[in-house]
């Protein structure tokens, strides 16, 4: 991470929805800058606007007003196809519900974003996919289908799929929402490990115990950023996981 270009630079971001005759503002004048190597947790209750922010940052939705630069590229005003290409090249998504293609092997799931790469930048897509799966510790389960994997393993496949294109930003939308305590720690440890390797991560969550593994917390309420602060006494998920396992053995 040698450049000083912000991964995300958002100014005056506003998103209004029309519900019948009334206009509902989901985001109001949001400013946010994310530098390379950051690990941000966006927190807020439902209706706080964090999902809307996530959709816009993920180039799935467009703002009603304001500007959005992703890795120096202006996103607002882009066409549907341009945004699709941008998602493919610069973003990696991890969802709450894993969102893997069932009846498709882990390897094929991970390979999928590479197949949609219009520039065909990557030659050996299979090798890249294998490497991504090994990176998340699933080297031995490449040919398994999602139904044959545990929730944690499925989320690891999803993370591998998000990483395989070497994106500028990893976006995680409630990635631990469907996971138990142990698996949550497991997945957070993986995120921390990836972040230590230099990957910029922005994750949305409403669980404080998840957010304290991030480096910075952005708290949202009523479509605005209320608090934006670094994490004090940041947790180490790997250590906590070991402690959790030890406790289980005692019990």
């Amino acid at each position: 991470m040698t450049t000083n270009t912000p991964v995300i630079e958002v100014r005056g971001l506003t998103r209004t929805y029309r519900m019948g005759s009334t206009e509902v503002a989901a985001l109001r004048q949001v400013d946010l800058t994310v530098m390379p190597g950051e690990f941000i947790a966006v927190m807020g209750t439902s209706g706080s606007g964090k999902s809307t922010l996530m959709n816009i940052l993920g180039c799935l939705d467009t703002p009603s007003a304001g500007t959005y630069l992703l890795d120096g590229v202006q996103v607002d005003g882009m066409t549907r196809n341009e945004r699709a290409d941008l998602r493919n090249h610069k973003l990696g998504f991890v969802f709450q519900g894993f969102n893997l293609l069932s009846r498709t092997s882990a390897l094929d799931n991970v390979e999928l974003p590479l197949l949609y790469d219009r520039l065909a930048r990557h030659k050996d897509t299979k090798a890249l996919s294998r490497a991504a799966l090994e990176r998340v510790g699933l080297g031995k389960r490449m040919d398994h289908h999602p139904s044959e994997l545990s929730g944690g393993q499925q989320q690891r496949v999803a993370i591998a799929r998000a990483l395989v294109t070497s994106p500028t930003l990893l976006l995680a939308d409630e990635p631990t929402g469907n996971l138990d305590t142990r698996t949550t720690l497991d997945v957070m440890a993986l995120f921390q490990q990836l972040n230590n390797q230099g990957i910029t991560i922005l994750l949305v969550t409403h669980e404080p115990e998840v957010s304290h593994y991030a480096k910075r917390i952005v708290e949202m309420r009523d479509g605005k950023i209320r608090k934006d602060h670094p994490v004090e006494d940041r947790g180490d998920a790997a250590v906590d996981l070991a402690a959790y396992d030890a406790q289980e053995v005692v019990a």
Partner: protein, 404 residues
């Protein structure tokens, strides 16, 4: 995205629902098979009819005795013999468009050889007969003008008669008796096979008309006069000419004709155009089932798009463009249709062969109909797959991802 990847994706989802795929494909299978079989049946029927007409002799004009009125009651066709050798000679002399004219005196008699006997049809004709009826002599020779003039007792046997009387095949030169009169076999005609009516055209013997009139029986009546033109397009003019000459010959002023002039080309064109219309009709009916099959495809693709809304959302989130999704579903529908088309093609070819065997027709499946069937089933795939595919491509990724 590479075509191979798209095809693999399509195959994956097609294989996923085997029963559904089979039932959906069945519509296309039946449609394509029906089109192929119907076109083959039509082609076979047309070939059959054309072959039969060709053996009748091309550019043939037939003059038969007409009806006569006796005391106000119509006596029906051929009541009285009204055709004479004078008519034939006048037609030969004055007909400018006629390249050959022959009377036909028709009777049946027993043909007796030393090796056996055979009851058959005797045609008393002139030398032009062979050209008119498109009849060739396989061994030996046709009779000549001298044979006619000299009322010589020469006979040419049809294939069936020759085989019946002389199974060893050495008919030419043998002596046979027609009734009581001895004749010399001077030729055997090439086989023509069955007529459209089912009668054996080769069960016949041909003698000079003059000999028939004097030596076989007292049967002078000319059953019909055959004439031909060199070109099919001359037939209408030639028919008018024949009518004029015949009216003059029979001294018919303002009265009704006592003869009838018919041509075979009318029959030929009517028969072929009828079968062409029949073929088109059969194919049209068959293509309805193809359209119905296509609607089945569309229905299933629409269900599939709804079912896979979430999958579409995922694909879009990781960078699939609308066009990628569109292509994926279109390829799926085309692959489905093509697979159905190929199975239908095989079923159709098999069906045509069975129909051919049962009817004895030459039911061929042409390359054209194979290409049309394949092309058509692909077109059905594109046409009926486009709407569902476009629906998939137009989905909003956020909504699609949220879809349960």
């Amino acid at each position: 995205m590479k075509l191979m990847v798209l095809l693999r994706m399509a195959m994956q989802s097609i294989v996923k629902n085997k029963m559904r795929t089979f039932l959906t494909m069945l519509g296309i299978v039946i449609g394509v098979a029906a089109v192929i079989v119907m076109v083959a049946i039509g082609a076979g029927a047309r070939g059959q009819i054309e072959a039969q007409i060709a053996t009748l002799g091309t550019n043939l004009i037939v003059v038969t005795p007409g009806t006569t009125q006796a005391g106000g009651s119509n006596q029906g066709a051929q009541t009285f013999n009204r055709l004479t050798i004078d008519d034939v000679e006048k037609l030969q002399r004055e007909g400018t468009l006629l390249s050959a004219v022959s009377p036909v005196i028709n009777t049946r008699t027993q043909v007796i050889a030393t090796t056996g006997n055979w009851r058959t049809e005797v045609n008393g004709v002139s030398t032009g007969f062979f050209r008119i009826r498109n009849w060739t002599v396989e061994s030996g020779a046709e009779f000549t003008e001298e044979d006619v003039q000299g009322k010589r007792t020469v006979v040419i046997l049809g294939k069936t008669v020759a085989n019946g009387l002389f199974p060893d095949g050495n008919a030419v030169g043998q002596r046979v008796r027609l009734g009581r009169t001895p004749f010399t076999v001077i030729g055997v005609m090439a086989g023509k096979g069955q007529a459209a009516t089912g009668t054996d055209q080769d069960d016949i013997v041909v003698v000079p008309y003059s000999t028939a009139q004097t030596r076989i029986s007292n049967f002078f009546f000319i059953g019909s006069i055959l004439a031909m033109t060199d070109n099919t397009k001359d037939i209408p003019a030639a028919m008018a000419e024949i009518s004029d000459i015949m009216r003059e010959s029979h001294r018919i002023g303002g009265g009704a004709d006592d003869f009838t002039v018919r041509d075979q080309s009318a029959l030929a064109t009517t028969a072929t155009s009828t079968t062409t219309v029949m073929t088109a009709l059969l194919a049209a009916i068959a293509s309805i089932s193809l359209v119905v099959g296509g609607i089945g495809i569309m229905n299933i693709m629409l269900v599939s798009v709804t079912e896979r809304t979430r999958e579409i959302g995922i694909r879009m989130a990781i960078g699939a463009r609308g066009s990628d999704v569109l292509t994926q579903f279109l390829v799926e529908s085309v692959v489905l249709c093509l697979m159905g088309g190929i199975v239908g093609l095989l079923a159709g070819i098999g069906g045509s062969m069975i129909v051919g065997r049962v009817t004895g027709w030459h039911t061929t499946t042409s390359i054209t109909s194979i290409l049309i069937a394949t092309g058509f089933s692909a077109a059905v795939g594109v046409f009926f797959g486009y709407y569902p595919a476009r629906k998939a491509a137009a989905l909003d990724p956020i909504q699609a991802l949220r879809y349960e």
